[in-house]
């Protein structure tokens, strides 16, 4: 035991997870931002981490030296009883204070101001209404509503207006660069321009009871043209099914309690307790990210949602196999 010096050990420990992460080819999403403002946050974070590393190495080196050098050895005399050194004490009070002040006012404050600034051109407004445990996305200027899967254009200023239908939630897509709370009765704003197309996953970061873990965020950033096409589609209600099975599914949907909680544009279903299902067939995920959107998963979710996403508000349904198949055909056909 005596042979191992704490600094060595700590260094080895620090290296371990970093190596693990690197070995898996993992991206550290918080550093891999795709928004204008997120990039400036990463710049600040990098600066802070470099300073942190310097402070860390300095303190550990000094302690390491003291541990090795001043270890009690046989025959060592009584150490001199130094009780302090006023100049030294003032120095190690003033130096960190100065460093912190410089970093805070020269680097932190400008980034804060940039992140919270407005836009020159009117942004695309997206209302993000958090629910236990799904996301409602409203496009007030485009006049449609969707849920759980959000499409946004790249290269266009976007203004997220965050609020909540029930408890506190926190809208966090790590690659956007930062997060903000959804608070009932209040609106928080995040403004940004997404620079690269891609699928960006995130999650509700504030604990909101029950299946908080499965309140994931799924954002598809695409070219303004693709986004325009997606938005145009959503501005129209889905066409009535022509396939008899799907048409039967629509009847099952409207005749059951589905409509108390879910809405589908162009039908009598207008519930807003659970996710809006308009164009559900186009989405990649079900249950706010708990499973991929496949007919099998959808059937399982309808039959016994508790088994797929424990704690979710949806009750179990005892549809006949024929009804279930029709319902799945209808919902998956909403595309």
């Amino acid at each position: 035991m005596r042979g191992i010096r704490p600094p060595l050990l700590v260094a080895a420990l620090l290296g371990l997870p970093a190596l693990t992460a690197a070995g898996c080819g993992t991206s550290i999403e918080s550093f891999d931002t795709v928004t204008d403002r997120g990039d400036s946050i990463v710049g600040l974070m990098n600066l802070i981490l470099v300073i942190s590393a310097v402070v860390f190495v300095l303190v550990f080196a000094l302690y390491g030296y003291a541990i090795v050098r001043f270890r009690d050895r046989p025959g060592a005399g009584e150490p001199s009883q130094v009780a302090g050194n006023r100049n030294l004490e003032i120095a190690w009070t003033a130096a960190p204070l100065l460093l912190l002040a410089v970093v805070f006012f020269l680097f932190t404050v400008p980034v804060m101001r940039k992140v919270e600034s407005g836009t020159d051109t009117p942004p695309l407004r997206i209302e993000v209404v958090a629910h236990q445990w799904w996301w409602e996305y409203r496009f007030p200027d485009l006049g449609f509503v969707t849920a759980n899967e959000l499409h946004v254009p790249v290269g266009v200023p976007i203004r997220f207006e965050l609020t909540s239908a029930d408890v506190l939630h926190n809208f966090w897509v790590p690659q956007f660069g930062w997060k903000k709370y959804n608070i009932p009765g209040q609106t928080n704003v995040m403004t940004m321009e997404i620079e690269e197309p891609g699928v960006y996953e995130g999650a509700c970061a504030e604990f909101c009871l029950g299946p908080h873990a499965w309140m994931r965020i799924y954002v598809v950033a695409e070219s303004p043209e693709d986004f325009a096409a997606w938005a145009r589609l959503h501005q129209q209600p889905p066409p009535l099914p022509t396939d008899p099975l799907a048409l039967r599914g629509l009847q099952v949907f409207l005749a059951n309690t589905c409509v108390n909680c879910h809405g589908v544009a162009g039908t009598a279903a207008a519930g807003n307790v659970g996710p809006n299902l308009t164009y559900l067939g186009l989405r990649d995920i079900l249950g706010a990210g708990v499973v991929p959107n496949t007919p099998e998963n959808l059937a399982a979710f309808i039959t016994n949602a508790q088994a797929v996403k424990p704690g979710v508000r949806m009750p179990r349904y005892d549809f006949t196999p024929e009804e279930l198949a029709a319902l799945v055909a209808y919902l998956e056909g909403l595309r």
Binding site: L9, L13, L14, L16, P17, T20, A21, C24, T26, I28, S30, L44, M45, I48, S52, F56, V59, F60, L62, Y63, I67, F70, D72, A76, E78, P79, A83, G84, N85, L88, E89, W92, T93, P96, L97, L100, A101, F104, M112, R113, V115, D166, V167, L168, N170, W172, P174, K179, K180, I183, P184, Q186, E201, A203, A205, F207, L209, G210, H212, A213
Partner: protein
Amino acid sequence: MATISEPYPRPGEEATSYSGLLGWLTTVDHKRIGLLYIGAGTLFLVLAGLGALLMRLQLAVPENDLLGPDAYNAVFTSHGTSMVFLVGMPLLFGFMNYFVPLMIGARDMVFPRLNAFSFWIFLAGAIILYFSFLSGEPPHQGWFSYAPMTHPPYTTNNSVDYWITGLIATTIGSIAAAINIIVTVAKLRVPGMTPLRIPVFVWTAVVASFIVLWALPSLTAAQVMLLFDRRLGTDFFDPPGDPVLYAHFFWFFGHPEVYILILPAFGMVSEVVPVFSRKPLFGYIFVVGSTIAIGFYSFLTWAHHMFSMGLGLLTDGFFGATTAIIAVPTGIKVFSWLATMWGGRIRFTTPMLFMVGAILIFVIGGISGVHFATVPMDWQTTDTYYVVAHFHYVLIGGTVFMAIGGFYYWFPKITGRILDERLGKWHFWLSMIGMNVTFFPMHFLGLMGMPRRVYTYPDRDGWFELNLLATVGAFIFAASIALLVVNVVYSLRRGRIAGDNPWNAWTLEWATTSPPPAHNFDRLPPVRSARPLWDVEQGQVPAGLTHEAPSSELAQRPPAMLPPVGRGLIQRMPAPVLGMWAFVSSEAVFFGALITAYLVYRFRDFEPGAAALDVPLIAVFSLALFASSGTIVMAERRLRRNDDRGFRLWLLATIVLGLVFLGGQALEYGALIGEDFTISRNPFTSAFFTLTGFHGAHVVVGLIMLAVVAWLAFRGVFRDGRRHAAVEAVALYWHFVDVVWVVVFTVVYLGAVVW
């Protein structure tokens, strides 16, 4: 000044008149109460630690179903609540209870019975919290239980109510304990122990006690309002009330709480590092000064827990700056300990190993703490595993390892035997490895997108590997704690006999036997510096110059009735009065929170609002209350002149005036409720009734205290100058109730007219 002549049993000996279990149940000996705290803290450490292992098992692999969401949420809530309130605080209060009186050369705490009360009500609160599991409705909202998920319809069972009542009970115990520590250190220091000779651990205990006094009432106020929201239908924290206000109240308590948990641990390091370096603490004044500075700043940083709530740039900037500043006094300590070791003769015994290891782990937590002061970095990392990593580095590296170091250091004093060094070193290395393997990967998990408080997670790149690593680390860490238990059991029987001062330490607890006798000291060395036993060892004080302490005559008195020492304002004040000052300062914070809530909703124009209040009616009845402060002064004056009849008369006049005021409040409430201006109408009415109602409740308590004083007065208890301190303390409380009404009347009633 009060003196008392009847004999009074020494508290320690009173307790030992019972043996066995009954002895422990009835003890008022600070050492036994300290051990009760440490024992209870250890029990809950094991329970909360088992909860942590359950969580790590659940998170070992993605999409695991060992625990469902509700079970997991209950376990992490219990883990956090327990670690803060049932582990950290009792362990530290245990050490304070045991060692503060010994280190200042006192016979016991100043209020031994209050001390026992503190422990038992703490334990009652802990039992309420754990009973919730037996009832099947454990709290599952997290240790800060943000509104409005604590409200119906989101939480309809009793879980939140267990959390509220359990914690209010432990908080009462903590506040009583804090008052006791403060007054003990103020009043019972051995002659010669001037402020700059007080051991640093005692200083940190005092500063932590002040934080307890002034931070915890904010939690109690928040919990009371939350309870009213849930049970009386008020609207403090659910719309149209403001959930963010709850977060403000919680963190006004919650951030200082971190310093309650860390400062006494810093104090332990400041005792151990010098002893094992054979040098005095480097920069005593800066270490003590930085402790006080941290205590002060801890009240100015709370909103950094809320940066991503959208408080605005100005608020975020202010709290970011204060949070960055608080790193400075913390850094001072790290450098002071380093400089203490520098040029010393360092003996790496287990206590020293733990302290140095703890400092280094804490440095990592301190550095990541500055990351959260960097507001945009906080926006990215808050509510993620990065936070989980950060505060475990602070609380395990800081509080837990430092307390374990303190445990190894003081175990010989408590038991007379030294903990086995070989097992101790295994324990140290195992816990260092376990701790880092558990928590270091969590930094990466947070940055990679894993939110905190998730019962499971999708199988994204690298999440599984890092989580599994953390789980392995947790079991290594748990094994190290098991090793500590083994060491304790082994060393209690076979450990090396310690003798009075096995480490060649310098503070007064080492000047008595191990374990100390019930009355602590037969003799004390003179205190000429912060290191009295060093002075004896170096022959710097004449060997013959030891004085008996406390004198046999003084030992016959309850500590609270000891004559004043010194001529300062605080020294001249009787202990009960000083204790009452501490108590009312704590109460003032409670009212501060209620007044804040009132003002917040006062200006949001709810209808009915302040315009509905009958200001002239209350103005008239307020005169009665204001006058009662005068009558109680008259009563005290008569008492000092030994005019027993006049004393009783003015006392009765005070009671009558208090009753008149309450009658006025009843009239007001009746009229308002008749107009459907009820507590559940809107946030304004909620705040109005809660504020004025709590003041009314305080008037009632004051009246009960006055009635007891009056009853004792009629029995002649206060004749011939006896027990005046009790009357003084009650009078102070009454003045406080009056002063609160001056503020409430101004804010609520005059405010209704003026604004």
